[in-house]
């Protein structure tokens, strides 16, 4: 048996020089220090994304993307198809954990200033993937065509419609018309299963290639610390095996959540019913949702909601472009201001999310 595997390896190696790839992996090291744990969250995000692709493809076998059949087809998946409830529950839970892991990954990179030269493009592709993850969440949320999703989509697309000048065009593009209808469902289905995965795969490939090429960044503050001696661990197999162990733990957490807290389907959307009391978006939109509740109807001469949207838009752009305005980290100097910004953002998100959860 061993001989067969060796022969197969040799056969491939003769054609694509596998040996050089193995040597490259052997030469890749991961820094070891007291903040090394954060390196694992990128891998966890990747793992959860893979789970999304697999369970998503499985759901596609039964899902029907139309106004009349969407809700019924998911009901069918959950009640008739064997393990359908499990696959759907894992897809929903994994989506949420994916965004959580990506968020932790993003903040750890932010606080470690890992976005500084030469890793600006890695940060940019990462941020674009994060926004895509939110878009995945938003588009996927509508697919069951239930009451909560219907109004969440109304609100979300209406917000996009408030963008100055191009808002109306974007709103019609997203909704496939003026209102949220079956046309919107068709479009969101297309975004969710074709367009977004396509773009995401390209971004992910660039992101991973860059990480392999440039290696992991070490936080500036660690480099400064006295008595700090550089330690490292080889990526293959040491770090990879630790990665796999964590993936196994995450898989178990996911299974426990999916089995003991199955994702609900709710009631079918009715365009002519009032918005149900206690309506809330997914938790990762909650802090923005809650902020919109507090902004008064009019601020100076502009409508409150437009004010809020523009504010979040600017904040998001500044956050994404941090490698280009944080000149201190670029020069390898410590920049406390960035830490304050990061801490403020984390506290703001936690506080407003909690408020949104409780009220």
């Amino acid at each position: 048996m061993k001989n067969y595997i060796q022969n197969l390896y040799k056969w491939i190696d003769e054609r694509v020089q596998l040996q050089s790839l193995v040597e490259f992996m052997g030469k890749k090291y991961v820094p070891v220090h007291r903040h090394s744990i954060w390196y694992y969250f990128g891998g966890v995000s990747l793992f959860l994304f893979i789970i999304q692709v697999v369970t998503g493809i499985l759901l596609l076998m039964y899902y029907k993307g139309s106004e009349d059949l969407a809700f019924e087809s998911i009901h069918f998946i959950m009640s008739k198809v064997e393990f359908g409830w499990l696959i759907r529950s894992i897809h929903s839970w994994s989506a949420n954990l994916f965004i959580l892991a990506a968020m932790i990954h993003m903040f750890s990179v932010f606080f470690g200033k890992a976005y500084r030269k030469p890793r600006e493009v890695t940060w940019l592709t990462g941020m674009l993937m994060f926004f895509m993850a939110l878009a995945f969440g938003f588009s996927g949320y509508l697919l069951p065509w239930n009451e909560l999703a219907f109004f969440a989509t109304k609100v979300g697309t209406d917000i996009a419609g408030d963008i100055p000048i191009i808002g109306k065009t974007i709103l019609e593009f997203l909704r496939g018309g003026e209102d949220v209808t079956g046309a919107t469902l068709s479009r969101f289905f297309g975004f969710h299963v074709a367009i977004f995965p396509g773009i995401f795969t390209v971004l992910l490939t660039i992101h991973l290639l860059l990480v392999q090429r440039q290696g992991m960044s070490e936080p500036l503050f660690i480099e400064d610390e006295e008595k700090y001696e550089k330690k490292k661990m080889s990526f293959f197999p040491n770090f990879l095996l630790r990665d796999l162990l964590l993936w196994l733990i995450v898989l178990n957490i996911l299974a426990i959540l999916a089995v003991f807290f199955p994702w609900e389907l709710g009631t079918k959307a009715d365009p002519f019913a009032p918005a149900p009391a206690g309506i809330k978006p997914e938790w990762y939109f909650l802090f923005m949702f809650q902020t919109l509740k507090y902004i008064p109807a009019n601020i100076w001469f502009i409508e409150g909601e437009i004010f809020g949207i523009v504010l979040f838009g600017i904040a998001g752009i500044l956050w994404t472009l941090v490698p280009f305005w944080d000149r201190k980290s670029f020069r390898g100097e410590r920049n406390r201001f960035i830490n304050y910004v990061g801490i403020f953002v984390v506290i703001y998100i936690i506080l407003l999310t909690t408020l949104g959860w409780l009220t």
């Binding site: 609100v155 009391a277 902004i295 909601e305």
Partner: protein
């Protein structure tokens, strides 16, 4: 062919190349953008509907009715008078409802509040609800757009 002629020939070929590339991209992108823009559905403009019968609504209650392809809210107040408004919240497009306990029109999405004249009195809505005219003919209630 001297250097000058060669240069001018190169420039000519370049402009043809870039010109055709631009034309090609335009020829590909234009239909895509047009395709993505949803066609205008010519629906019959609804200006008046029969909303309900007088007996369908108790005093101090409200219902959502279909006004064309948009929701409208028909309210009967404590005195027995009828009022009708567009049920689309002026904040972010959710559908409002009648709150008996508070005697207001309420939007669950962001806690928008309107009084029974449709005026925005609390929460984030920036404008009042569009009011419809209510006409009662015998037992039947008709609502129509104010012209």
């Amino acid at each position: 062919m001297n250097e000058k002629e060669r240069e001018s020939k190169r420039l000519f070929l370049k402009s043809i190349l870039y010109g055709s590339l631009t034309a090609l991209s335009a020829a590909i992108l234009y239909p895509i953008f047009k395709f993505l823009k949803p066609p205008q559905q010519t629906e019959v403009e609804v200006s008046s509907i029969k909303a309900a019968n007088v007996n369908d609504l108790e005093k101090d209650s409200g219902i959502i009715v279909r006004f064309g392809n948009k929701p409208a809210i028909l309210i009967r107040n404590a005195n027995g008078d009828f009022k009708a408004f567009s049920a689309t919240c002026t904040h972010l497009d959710c559908t409002v409802q009648y709150r008996k306990d508070k005697g207001i029109i309420w939007c669950a999405c962001h806690n928008g509040q309107y009084d029974l004249n449709g005026r925005n009195i609390g929460g984030p809505p920036p404008r009042p609800l569009e009011e419809f005219r209510v006409v009662i003919k015998g037992e039947e209630i008709f609502i129509s757009k104010n012209v």
